[in-house]
């Protein structure tokens, strides 16, 4: 072609002409409409961008309606918006959309789609909305747009300024190229709605609102439905009204639209239903009637948009396929074609598209395309919605409508079950019979209506209740992903922390820090040096003790000065043993464990021996289970049985001590053998604890010794409480001795040595014990002093180094 024919006056113009030199009307308007495939329109994604172009004829309301920028918002938000609208939408009467159309010509999802194009600057979204981050799957689209920004720009620009066919041909796939060629020659119709096809203009502006276009669209605007408006968002190439006059050109448009659906699933589920005009096209009415007949009302209310939206998406191709005169008739013919035509895809791809607007009868090749298209559209619509779908460029190589990509079950049942789920939109519509429902509309019905099983994974059982995917189940995995990966909500509310809570928090932090440090040091330590050190210390002590014990070396001098408690103890024992005529029993309270039985028995043996020798009856009671046996074996083995009353073990701790202190005969009525204790001779005089001539406490425990003293001392009156204690319990018994609550005490080997010295019996203390004791303790003292000094010196040495550092 060497010239351009003005679509308005038919005058010939050079190729580079922008406007007709005769009528001075723009040429490119018609060319853009007639040749919707711009040089880079092979990228179906570009069509989506183009779809987002503002609709100049939509007027201010339309602009306002396009304000919400869904792509610049968080997807969860708009998804949430869908869900928020869902309760309202089903209740909306389908017959009222004319009013809605007046108020907002574009459905909200369409407005959302418009924004990301960003080309025209007509996005009136607020700054806040624009700043909202895109979810990943949407940002992918955005990135595509950026990387192909040039292409997108040229996609629209050629449509406005002229059509660069050569460039477009280079990037177009063969089948699209074939489609695109006839558009170049399609006579264009100048229109103010340069970038928008007439049907879309009608759909977006609504009936009666649209200012008269330069060229009247073949399809009446008043018959447009709002769901058709929604399709404008997915229209690849905004076309002029001329496309209605060309069968081939619209076909390309709707093909692009399907491509957009195929690889760009987000808009499909991004928006709510468009408002329904009152006077929908007849064919749609028929469709809706059909749905109203087959779908129960409740179901209709639940999924009011299920069919509308897909129908809106699919309708443009149909409108573009057929010129204006077809209008409703084409549906019938299409329905008949549905049954007749079934061509392989290869044929579809290779089928040249007529350059001229052809009547329906001339469309066998075209109709061959239709059914794969309808099937493919459905399949792409349904199955290729996941965000991780392949890149558009790749999909251009293979037609998105290839039925081979469909699941087998879908191919089989897409038409079979389509009639089972009528559209809720048709609930209020009457007129057409169900038989007139075209196949492609059936194919676009909610997936659950045609699918025998569930779509998607078992995990995703959510059913969309609004938007174009209304009624679909598990087809929006992206929503869950977007929700999952969306930025966490930022709460502006400040955490109110009281001072007390802050203090606790700081305290907890300090504790945790200390714990961490402690773990570090403990982890750094090794058990081996400890074992070695302990072994060395043990060996040193053992050597010294063994040497002193068995070496025969006398290093320990007997004490010459005695502690007051030792003297008092000896004095009390002496007074007891000296009163030979009074054989009042002595109570031995055994409160020591086998661990220190060696020490206690060594101390107690001479004392008990003196008492037994003096004929004193001994009553033995124990506050621990082994006490009685230890007392018998270690202390009383040599005593005559009649002199010993072993009351055994008194469980209960302090309560049994109190019981014994209050009334010994009640607390311990029997001896170990089970015989009544207090009937025995020598013990019959005991009614209360103070009846004993003395109470001797054998203890190695600071706590139990305190309990014994606490319980016994208030009730003993003049009976002395004498204590034979281990060295470890002695310091805590000292106050009771000093206060007079205890009469005397022998503690440890020093106490035994004192008793030995006081009693004048040199053989009380086993040979070598005191020497080993003294040697061992002095060795321990030396070790402690040496190592303590060593560590102190090391500390002073390291300190300056640390300070220096």
């Amino acid at each position: 072609m060497s010239e351009l024919i003005c679509p308005h006056c038919g005058a010939s113009n050079p190729l580079d002409a922008i406007e007709c030199k005769k009528c001075h009307r723009f040429l490119f308007e018609s060319s853009s409409a007639g040749a919707p495939f711009s040089p880079k329109e092979d990228d179906w994604l570009n069509s989506l961008r183009e779809d987002t172009e503002p609709l100049p004829e939509s007027g201010e309301e339309n602009t306002a309606a396009s304000e919400p920028p869904p792509f610049t918002e968080d997807v969860p938000d708009w998804l949430a918006r869908i869900r928020q609208r869902t309760p309202e939408e089903p209740g909306e009467p389908v017959e009222q959309p004319s009013q809605q159309g007046e108020e907002e010509e574009l459905p909200e999802w369409l407005r959302d789609v418009e924004i990301p194009s960003g080309k025209t600057g007509q996005t009136t979204s607020t700054a806040d909305e624009e700043e909202l981050p895109l979810p990943d799957w949407l940002s992918l689209i955005d990135e595509e747009k950026q990387t192909e920004g040039e292409a997108l720009t040229t996609t629209s620009e050629p449509t406005e300024t002229g059509f660069d066919r050569q460039t477009g041909d280079e990037e177009l796939p063969a089948w699209l190229r074939e489609i695109g060629i006839p558009h170049e020659e399609t006579p264009s119709q100048p229109s103010a709605e340069e970038e928008i096809p007439a049907w879309l203009v009608e759909s977006t502006t609504g009936e009666g609102e649209q200012p008269g276009a330069p060229a009247e669209p073949p399809l009446s605007q008043t018959e447009e439905t709002d769901w058709l408006k929604s399709f404008a968002a997915f229209e690849t190439q905004p076309a002029s009204e001329e496309e209605e006059s060309s069968a081939a050109a619209p076909e390309e448009d709707w093909l692009k639209t399907f491509e957009a659906f195929e690889s760009q699933p987000e808009p499909l589920f991004s928006e709510s239903q468009p408002p329904q005009p009152e006077d929908e096209s007849d064919w749609l009415k028929a469709f809706e009637d059909f749905r109203s007949e087959t779908l129960p009302e409740a179901e209709t209310e639940e999924e009011p948009e299920a069919v509308q939206q897909p129908a809106g998406e699919e309708s443009p191709p149909l409108e573009s396929l057929f010129s204006e005169p077809l209008e409703e008739d084409w549906l019938q013919s299409l329905q008949s074609l549905q049954e007749e035509v079934s061509l392989p895809e290869s044929e579809e791809e290779s089928q040249p598209i007529s350059e001229e607007a052809e009547p329906l009868q001339e469309l066998p090749p075209l109709t061959e395309d239709i059914f794969p298209v309808t099937e493919g559209a459905s399949s792409a619509f349904i199955f290729e919605t996941p965000a991780q779908e392949s890149v558009p460029e790749e999909e251009l190589d293979v037609s998105p409508f290839i039925s081979e990509e469909l699941p087998e079950w879908f191919d089989e049942q897409v038409f079979e079950s389509a009639e089972e789920q009528p559209s809720p939109a048709g609930e209020a519509e009457t007129g057409l019979e169900p038989a007139e429902l075209p196949g492609w509309l059936e194919a676009m019905r909610p997936i659950e209506a045609v699918a025998p099983g569930r779509i998607g994974s078992d995990d995703d059982q959510r059913i969309e209740t609004s938007g174009p995917l209304s009624g679909f189940q598990g087809v929006l995995p992206a929503e869950a992903l977007v929700t999952q990966y969306s930025k966490p909500a930022i709460y502006s509310a400040r955490l109110q922390v009281s001072e007390k809570q802050r203090t606790y928090a700081n305290l907890l932090e300090t504790i945790l820090q200390q714990e961490k440090q402690g773990q570090t040091t403990s982890a750094a330590r090794s058990a081996a040096p400890q074992i070695l050190g302990r072994l060395l210390v043990g060996v040193a002590i053992a050597v010294i003790v063994l040497f002193a014990l068995f070496g025969g070396i006398r290093i320990a001098a007997p004490p010459t000065l005695f502690a007051q408690e030792n003297v008092n103890f000896f004095t009390q024992i002496q007074s007891l043993t000296s009163a030979a005529g009074q054989n009042t029993p002595v109570l031995l309270a055994v409160d020591f464990e086998p661990a220190l039985a060696g020490e206690i028995s060594k101390i107690a043996s001479p004392v008990i021996g003196d008492l037994l020798q003096a004929g004193k009856p001994l009553a033995v009671v124990s506050s621990n289970p082994t006490g009685a046996a230890l007392a018998e074996d270690l202390l009383l083995s040599s005593a005559p049985p009649e002199q010993i009353l072993n009351l055994g073990y008194l469980p209960g701790g302090v309560t049994s001590m109190a019981a014994l202190a209050n009334q010994p005969a009640v607390a311990a009525p029997r001896d170990r053998s089970g015989a009544f204790a207090w009937d025995r001779s020598g013990f019959q005089t005991i009614q209360q604890i103070s009846d004993f001539s003395a109470v001797i406490l054998l203890t190695d425990n600071t706590d139990t010794s305190r309990l014994w003293i606490e319980q016994l001392s208030p009730v003993l009156e003049n009976t002395p409480l004498l204590i034979i204690a281990s060295s470890q319990a002695a310091p805590m018994i000292q106050p009771y001795l000093q206060s007079g609550q205890a009469g005397g005490m022998l503690a440890g080997l020093p106490g035994l040595a004192a008793y030995q010295q006081l009693s004048g019996k040199p053989d009380i203390l086993p040979a070598g014990y005191l020497d080993a004791f003294q040697a061992g303790l002095m060795l321990i003292v030396v070790l402690i002093l040496v190592f303590s000094l060593y560590y102190l010196v090391m500390q002073f040495i390291r300190k300056p180094e640390t300070k220096g550092k």
Partner: protein, 225 residues
């Protein structure tokens, strides 16, 4: 083989096994300790049954007078209820028995602490101030000083355990300066007392070590005979 010889050999082996802990934790040491725990549990169980439960519960119920039976019935019920403590789901049923033990024990401890320690130790703290009439002035003076030191030490130690403090601004708590100073003195006395206790434990342990060495020597002599 003499029974005592066998028992001595057992005691000897167990002593060696236990002392092997100086080389670190080892199976021999564990063997001795587990054996010890098992034997102790068995012995205590037998003691409790034969020396407490049978004479105090079983015999009065079987052979006692009606009043004895009645008086024995309550501890028997309490004892049976206590058995439910073995079963987690029914352990609540044992709570009354535990409450009986705790309540009586608390009362005994209160009375013992008041009459045995509070009165006694307060009296003991005052007692040294009753100067002996027979002593000379120097002796009386040293006794007085000693008594004051002991009293101050006792008070300061008690003050050290007084952990309540007045809260100031910024959540900082601080004790009174006098209290702080007194508590500081209490720390000194507590450190001295704990040092004495530590020395006492060491002395007791060393005595046990000496006794064990003596036993080992005796046992070896027995074996060699």
């Amino acid at each position: 083989m003499d029974v005592n010889f066998a028992w001595t050999a057992v005691a000897f082996v167990l002593t060696i096994l236990t002392l092997s802990y100086l080389l670190g934790d080892n199976p021999f040491f564990r063997l001795a300790t587990y054996l010890f725990v098992g034997v102790s549990a068995g012995y205590v169980a037998a003691i409790l049954i034969f020396e407490v439960l049978i004479p105090r519960l079983a015999e009065p119920l079987m052979f006692g007078s009606p009043s004895e039976k009645f008086l024995t019935l309550i501890p028997l019920i309490l004892s049976l209820l206590l058995v439910f403590k073995l079963f987690p789901r029914l352990s609540v049923l044992g709570n009354p028995s535990m409450a009986f033990l705790v309540g009586s024990g608390a009362a005994v401890i209160i009375s013992g602490a008041v009459t045995g320690t509070l009165f006694g130790q307060i009296s003991g703290a005052i007692q040294p101030f009753g100067l002996s009439e027979n002593g000379d002035f120097l002796q009386a003076g040293s006794q007085l000083i000693g008594s004051i030191v002991l009293l101050l030490g006792t008070i300061s130690t008690l003050v050290y355990f007084q952990f309540s403090a007045r809260r100031k601004t910024e959540q900082q708590t601080s004790r009174n300066a006098l209290v702080q100073f007194t508590a500081f003195g209490g720390q000194i006395f507590i450190a001295i007392t704990l040092g004495a206790l530590y020395a006492g434990v060491l002395a007791a342990a060393l005595t046990a070590l000496i006794e064990r060495f003596d036993f080992l020597r005796t046992a070896i002599q027995t074996f060699l005979q």
